[in-house]
Amino acid sequence: MSHQLSRRRFVLGLGAAGAGHLLSRAVAEAAAPDPLLAGRPLVRYPQKTDLILLTSRPPQLETPMTYFDRAITPNEAFFVRYHLFPIPTRVSLDEWRLRVGGHVDRALELSMEDLKTKFRPVALTAVCQCSGNSRGRFSPRVLGGQWGDGAMGNAEWVGARLRDVLEAAGVRQGAVDVTFNGLDAPALPSVPDFVKSLPVARVMDWPDVLIAYRMNGQPLPMLNGFPARLVVPGWYATYWVKNLSDITVTDQPFEKFWMKPAYRIPDNPCGCVEPGTTPARTVPISRMTTRSFIASPASGSRVGAGAPTTLKGIAFDGEYGIRAVEISDDGGRTWRATDLGADLGRYSFREWSARWTPRQRGPHTIMVRAFNSIGESQGLEPLWNPAGYLRNVVEHIDLEVG
């Protein structure tokens, strides 16, 4: 760690010697850290680049905002979130098998070769976002992983359709849920194993749910689920079970700890309650809300007066695709359109960019909001729920002009 910090200082030093404008920007970024992330070290885990440390065991690593000026998040920069420890640190494909069983006609034990050759590979670009992304910004604050905004990423996934695999096993009449378990394990027998479920009727009718074995053209990093993980596009990452080992069809509703009481939201259209109160009824979290971010320039940067600045970032939603991204420099009174980047599909980050020319010197706030293709957008006031999920308030950056 310390050598990484000193390397960063060395890079800053090069900027000072080489190019004044590079230095001023780097210093501006360093001088205006996100207060939530202040004091959190950058760490480098295996197969990963420098990421923001939330917790070391089980590992939870956050992607810095600078990576969200583009649609695809590099594998090495993709966030990491485990619930249990120990996590797998060695996987051999000679030994690894994906077991499919439970309420089926034929239990399967699939090797990676089986998964790749017996089922048609499907490619899909999709956002993986932690349910609690941005939880650290809730007010009143809530317990749990105190994420900034970097518990999200977007990748092209290649894998077999879950539906095809379940059809090969033959789902029996009376099936209710499908459960997913990975190679992570509880430290104590009393700790509930991390097992998630989806309704069987939903997944048999949803060809986009994948058992993914490639991520941006490469095998998955271990900490992102090698050798295979579930991809449930449009739904929060809690369902995207990593280091997948077992798929089990049940003939009863599956309601173990990580489905109930964990990962639940208030059972109402906003998934929210009055701050500080407890919801009367809850349901499992599912589809992601609409969000958008400004990644460049970094909040706190200084930009020149009278000259255009290029603003860049990404937007996404749960399933319908982004129709428009807008910015405001007057506190949300007026909004103007931005240019959208390539459409990589309705589950993907959508890049956006805009040229913005400040009219006067001094502090400026730029806000961003997105609309999906069914008109869902973001509010100016944050919604609240006790678990710190679904955050999608309008985001902003602060710039100093002059």
Binding site: Y45, P46, S56, T89, P189, M222
Partner: protein
């Protein structure tokens, strides 16, 4: 001679591919040690021992600060929901430690 050289070359290529394939089929990583340490004070050792059974102590340090009620709820959840084997006396000492070191007034 030329045939032998070619055979050796082919063998070397096959061998190198085998090594690459074997390397790609087995992935091994080594995780870094836990980061961070609890501040010293009465109850620190028992807190460290109990909590580190399942997670690093940076889980504690990142939480919002809170009084005894917050930390009692957290410790109770660890015992009741996750089955942490913490005797009552230790649980009381842990709550006191957390409320002091991670309390609202600091």
């Amino acid at each position: 001679m030329r045939t032998l050289a070619r055979a050796l070359l082919v063998g070397a290529v096959l061998l190198s591919h085998a090594v690459v394939a074997a390397a790609a089929d087995t992935v091994t990583i080594t995780l870094p040690p836990d980061h961070g340490a609890l501040p010293p004070g009465p109850g620190m050792e028992v807190t460290q021992k109990a909590c580190q059974t399942c997670h690093s102590t940076d889980y504690i340090a990142m939480q919002p600060r809170g009084g005894e009620a917050q930390w009692r709820a957290v410790v109770t959840k660890m015992i009741k929901v996750f089955g942490a084997p913490i005797p009552d006396d230790d649980a009381r000492a842990i709550v006191e430690y957390l409320a002091r070191e991670y309390g609202p007034s600091r």
